[in-house]
Subunit: 83 residues, 2 copies
């Protein structure tokens, strides 16, 4: 995935998952430093409906495979401690 | 949740999610430093079948609510950078 393109696409994600990938909401996960492959698999699972989530489903509905790979690369690249 | 009790219970989790909560397997998530509430919600979702996963389902089948709260507290307490 392309980290810079993922960063651009991440504007939608920031309100819940934090500008630095550290969630602002206890029931939502941190994404910073998460495994790239895991992130991509989960975004695809939300998109296909395999992983059902009423918040995430509309967020990912318009994402292409490339968007997902880029977002996964971006969040995986962030410092997991939020710095 | 009780961090020490969660650590004891985590023996089963370590093979995939790492002794320090950093996954050894790219398709599986890091757990170290993840939000406690998110971790508990996901373990409960695997247990109820709301989140379907053939690997996780048998892992969580025998967990009580207290076990889940303890595991969530333990993994949330770990350093997200794996140190």
């Amino acid at each position: 995935g392309d980290i810079a393109a993922g960063k651009t696409k991440s504007a939608t994600c920031m309100a819940c998952h934090g500008a630095n990938g550290i969630s602002q909401i206890p029931m939502y996960p941190n994404l910073a430093g998460q495994k790239e492959q895991y992130l991509a698999l989960q975004l695809k699972a939300f998109r296909s409906g395999e992983r059902k989530n009423m918040v995430m489903a509309p967020m990912v509905a318009g994402l292409s495979d490339a968007d997902i790979e880029n977002l996964a690369a971006y969040y995986a690249s962030l410092d997991p401690s939020g710095k």
